[in-house]
Amino acid sequence: MSGRRLLAVLCLLLALLTAGLTAGPAMAVRPDEMLSDPALEARARAISKDIRCVVCQSENIDESDADIAHDLRVLVREQLMAGKSDQQVRDFLVARYGDFVLLKPPFKMKTLLLWVGPFAVLLLAAAGILVFYRRRRNAAEAPPLSADERTKLDAFMTANEKTGSSNSDSEGPAR
């Protein structure tokens, strides 16, 4: 590799690196949205992290760049400025968008399956495994051989030993 080419590659790498550093993670919260009171702003951030963006449904409004997420962030801050409690702000949003707007849905009859479902499946699976092993253990305890079966087996084993020893070199398991 010539010196000039090496220099070009190095420059390119440096450019990529600085671009990556300056771009950083995308910040959805714009500076003009932020409150001057750091305590209120911290509360607003904490609330926003638990509010689902209703357009891009797998993001919270604190991270979403959607227009409506911006509107909701501003709304949350306005409500806090007006002296509302965190719960009152959440209730305000739930009254408009329903429980769906909370990333952590409340525990009630409608969400019972959501909260209890995974544990129920786990318990069912555990019960199934337990029953399976119980059965297998019972099945393993087979009745002892009768005298007749014992003599037959002995005869078979001795006969097999005689022929088996000569063959073991060629046919023995290759383990």
Binding site: D67, R96, Y97
Partner: protein, 183 residues
């Protein structure tokens, strides 16, 4: 009991099939959100008029005002919204066939742009307000435009359609509801 255990995989399969078929149902929209507004009085709001010759809209109009005793549709739209363009001609079906007033609210739109959209596409709205900040939209819990709400004679929200209306939806969902509410 032991003999019927061989049926278990079949039962599990049947349960899975029910789930999968439900997932394949084209009418099912997994991202749809039920509106908590349904069955409640419509939110308090006041949208200033968009055009000089058409009145704005206020929640007062529904309770004891000029819209009291009528089944009304409120349609959120915007000139920047492509599905609204597709939906717009269909709104005539509400005013014509169903004979109900349709109220328009221009959501987060510039007045000129919204007025231009109506000049081009026609204006089916009896009253027309603007919601430039989008705050009225939030009070209605809309997630985008177009969205349509059906309000009964007492000013109670009865239905919400998120996304564009189409003739099939109006015939199958809106028309029977409006007929019922008009009884």
């Amino acid at each position: 009991m032991r003999r019927s255990v061989f049926l278990l995989p079949l039962v599990v399969l049947a349960a899975l099939l029910v789930f999968f078929l439900r997932g394949l149902d084209p009418a099912r929209d997994p991202s749809a959100i039920d509106s908590p507004l349904i069955g409640k009085a419509l939110p308090t709001f006041s949208a200033p008029p968009l055009l000089a010759d058409a009145p704005g809209i206020d929640s007062q109009d529904f309770v004891g005002g000029k819209l009291h005793g009528q089944v009304v549709a409120i349609n959120f739209f915007a000139s920047w919204c492509v599905p609204c363009r597709a939906e717009h001609p269909v709104l005539k079906q509400l005013t014509g066939e169903l004979g109900m007033p349709v109220i328009g609210i221009a959501y987060k739109d510039k007045k000129d742009a919204a007025a231009g959209f109506l000049a081009e596409m026609g204006n089916p709205y009896q009253q027309l307000g603007t919601d430039e900040s989008g705050r009225i939209g939030i009070d209605f819990g809309i997630t985008g435009v177009p969205e349509t709400f059906i309000i009964d004679k007492q000013g109670i929200v009865r239905d919400r359609v998120a996304g564009p209306l189409n003739p099939q939806l109006i015939n199958e969902e809106i028309a029977p509801l409006v007929k019922e509410l008009n009884k």
